[in-house]
Amino acid sequence: MDILNALVALLNFVIIPASSYGAQLALGALGVTLIYGILRFSNFAHGDTMAFGTGVTILGTWGLQAMGVSIAPLPTALLALPFGIAVTALLVLGTDRAVYRFYRKKKSDPVILVMVSVGVMFIMNGITRFVIGVDEIQFDDGERFLISAKAFKEATGLAEGLSLRSTQVITVVTAVLVVWALFWFLNSTRTGKSMRAFSDNEDLALLSGINPERVVAVTWIIAAGLATIAGTLYGLDKSFKAFNYFQLLLPIFAAAIVGGLGNPLGAIAGGFIIAFSEVSVTYAFKKVAGYLGPEGWQPDSMLQLLGTEYKFAVSFAILIIVLLFKPTGLFKGKSV
Amino acid sequence: MIRVENLHKHFGGFRAVDGASLEIATGSITGLIGPNGAGKSTLFNVIAGVLKPTSGRVTMAGEDITGLAPHELFHKGLLRTFQIAHEFSSMTVRENLMMVPAGQSGETLWNAFFNRRKIRDEEQALLRKADEVLDFLTISHLRDERAGNLSGGQKKLLELGRTMMVDAKIVFLDEVGAGVNRTLLNTIGDAIVRLNRERGYTFCVIEHDMDFIGRLCDPVIVMAEGKVLAEGPAAHIMENEAVIEAYLGTGLKNKVKAGGAA
């Protein structure tokens, strides 16, 4: 029996990675859920908005680095975030003006807006690659580890290492803060309430003196901010590659849906559910069982419920099961 | 015809219907009145299978129909209208009516593909029937209009029109009168009486217009806070102290005079 090592192994390979991945998904899902909640359509361009925002932030980071500005041990990119957010906000506001507004005025079906967002996705996709290219970019320049596996082993003398990256901690903390802020904003501020009113009944909002264009603009600006933050934190933790942000879209949507569309708390819950189901259901418990079993014993099989090639399938299966019991997600989301 | 026994419907902790028991006699036009939020529509929705009761039983002609799905109830001859009109908005007014009758042979794919003649004959009959109903409701000029474009009152008429497309045993009307012009409402009242007398429909009517209730309904059931408060002939009910206090009030005229408005 070696409970300590078992615990560390579990922490290192399941709990910590799943938490930070969950927070990354949650941040992305927040943007999707916000757009859905207020503007009532699933925005397929969100993944590419994240990519664009991150791309701009990277440009800003390079600029800052060239000027010798740094906030070590934190990554410089955090300092460049406002710049990234501002540019991204301009882009999405422009997109709204040029594209979405027309369909909003026409009161088109949500599905039309979804397809339109697919078109926007293609275009943003092109713009991002055009501006910053297709290559992988590493732009994390701060202190990478809070605890590194090696240092942990040396310090504790355990067989298992434990690593904790600073980006992981930043991501989780940011996700929690942002959710709290968004929740507070939507439920307690005048602007937030006007946004919810707009989402409920556009015509009536108009009759109450709410300026729809302002609501829409605020929504897009927040969404741009969320996208840029989410994208940048993800990029810091992994690396930036335009193509990956498109791939991120699927788990992000899954997270937003399983939590209940339109609900910030749902996005957080959904992110963690998807991440934990991916990581834990396919985890091989061989080593952990080995530590927990008698000295020197090792199980023969991997003790793995399902191979990792099915990890996506597993998280979707869990999503479907949740939906069967809660048809509009855990937190009673909206449905158009 | 319909018997409701100790019915409960709770939303979370809130008891919308709280142990209601009542009976709708075959061949009657039963009125159901009560203050806003008394649980009338909820009771309707439970009977009509839209909501599952928390507890209690509903029987129709002795047969337990608790929890049956709406479409099954339709086939048993139970029809209903909605308080907030549920038209098929992208279909024309006439199509809204023509889709109602059950067992249309054109509703199976096989017939739709290969049995066009039979369908054509049936459709002709349906078309005539629908036009009759539209004439009756004074909206035949709108037969080819998208139902979504109707005025509030017209939608209510369409709701009613759907129940006239088939031979029902019992029809539940949830505030057909709200938003309908009073002159037309009188005509509708006449039609309800005629359907009741000539075709033997049983009606259960929710309505806040006491003229209408008084003219049509016997008996009248009063609900309040999820329970049955009183039951009896309309004239009696309108004298009932409890009913006056909870629901009817002391009448507008006195107040207008007292207030001395123009």
Partner: protein, 431 residues
């Protein structure tokens, strides 16, 4: 068909003809053939969305299942595979089905503690019994000549038989999925079906015994002759020469035309049936259900059953298209089933064409496929134009030319937005 329909179709046909005259008939027919398959796909999706309002984004899964049929039907059997593991597989599936059935019965009949206890016992025991039978059978099959086979093999039947079978596969899956997931609405149904699509593709990619997984299956038999055979047939060469064609061109065109004929026949039959269905009381009922489920149910329509029916039919059509696609490709590559291409592009087809309108779906299918193929050279051309004036060797020019490939998706996006701007309800709106 209204005048607008005819005009629109004439326009798309014109595009194909134009391609034929400027780019060669092979390219034109190639685009046309894939366009026809896309049209079938779009028709299937339109049934689910346009008729009944079901937001299915698991299309890629049904297409993939349909694609499995040609492999299992038309491929020659793998010698020894069935003896090695066939029985084990059948037994394993029987055990699994039995366990599921038992679980369902327990779930319905038993109550309280019995249910709480028996259900997991049955499911866990069932799972292990299944794995105990399944794993060795699979191992035995996959051990047979893994670099060229390693799968259970096909039945060696004519490939055209695989088309209805592909539809059946998809329909079967749709039945199971519909029974469980159709209670969901709008985007929730969408993401659930998206997940199911991913799961189906994951199974196809990883279960090598079934269709070789990511190792792909090549050389699937064809319903039409091989070009090379035609080229070596003197009779054909002579005929070609009498048209003034060289044998290579003639053979490739002849083969493509044969496919065109087959696909067109399927498409027209489907359109005919769909039009009849949509313009009948059945179609009216479906539209009513789409408009307002609550009211339709109150009017005696069995919404659940109808949803299931249309979900199965639409999925079957997607499966049929999947089988046709694999037949045309002659190979099965599960890795290529990605949702962007097989789900969202199809959705774009339906919406651009005009949802709820059969002809619209067909038009959208053909047009969007044409664009999907053509935007690539257009993207390059556009960049060529832009950079034409710039100095050779300038960094900007190099960067722009480098980016030309990405113009492909961008051009697609621009066109999509333009179409939806000028025809916000699709090119051929429902009414």
């Amino acid at each position: 068909m209204t005048q607008r329909n005819i005009l629109m179709f004439a326009a798309v046909l014109g595009l194909v003809l134009f391609e034929g005259f400027t780019g060669g008939w092979n390219t034109a027919l190639g685009i046309l053939n894939m366009g026809l398959i896309s049209a079938v796909l779009a028709l299937g999706v339109n049934m689910q969305w346009g008729y009944a309002g079901l937001f299915n984004t698991g299309i890629v899964g049904f297409v993939a299942l349909g694609g499995l049929a040609p492999v299992l039907i038309a491929l020659p059997p793998t010698p020894g595979a069935f003896n090695a593991g066939g029985l084990g597989l059948i037994l394993a599936f029987a055990v699994a089905a039995g366990a599921v059935a038992l679980a369902v019965v327990i779930n319905r009949r038993a109550r309280g503690a019995v249910r709480l206890l028996a259900l997991p016992v049955v499911m866990v025991a069932g799972f292990f019994a299944y794995r105990a039978l399944f794993d060795p059978a699979v191992a035995a099959i996959e051990a047979i000549n893994p670099s060229a086979a390693g799968n259970i093999g096909g039945l060696g039947l004519p490939i055209l038989l695989a088309w209805p079978v592909g539809a059946l596969f998809a329909a079967g899956a749709a039945w199971v999925i519909g029974k469980t997931a159709l209670g969901l609405r709008s985007d929730y149904l969408a993401i659930a079906t998206l997940g199911i699509g991913e799961i189906i593709v994951a199974v196809l990619k990883n279960e090598d015994w079934l269709a070789r997984g990511v190792k792909n299956v090549n050389a699937i038999p064809r319903p039409v002759p091989y070009e090379v055979d035609l080229q070596s047939s003197p009779a054909f060469v002579e005929r070609a020469a009498s048209f003034g064609l060289d044998p290579v061109t003639a053979s490739t065109i002849a083969v493509k035309l044969a496919y065109t004929g087959l696909f067109l026949a399927v498409l027209l039959a489907l359109v005919w049936l769909s039009e009849r269905a949509l313009k009948s009381p059945w179609g009216r009922m479906m539209r009513a259900i789409r408009d307002n489920e609550t009211a339709a149910a109150a009017m005696g329509k069995n919404v659940t059953r109808r949803h299931l029916q249309i979900f199965i039919i639409g999925s079957a059509v997607c499966g049929l298209a999947g089988a046709m696609l694999i037949t045309l490709d002659g190979q099965m590559t599960p890795g290529s089933y990605n949702p962007l291409r097989f789900t969202f592009l199809v959705w774009v087809m339906v919406i651009v064409g005009g949802s709820g309108n059969n002809w619209g779906a067909v038009l959208g299918g053909m047009l969007i496929w044409y664009l999907w193929i053509k935007v690539e050279p257009w993207g390059h051309g556009l960049m060529g134009l832009i950079t034409a004036g710039m100095a050779d060797g300038s960094a900007i020019k190099a960067h722009l030319l480098e980016s030309a490939a990405h113009m492909r998706l961008m051009t697609m996006g621009v066109i999509l937005l333009l179409v939806l701007r000028f025809a916000p309800k699709g090119l051929l709106p429902e009414k």
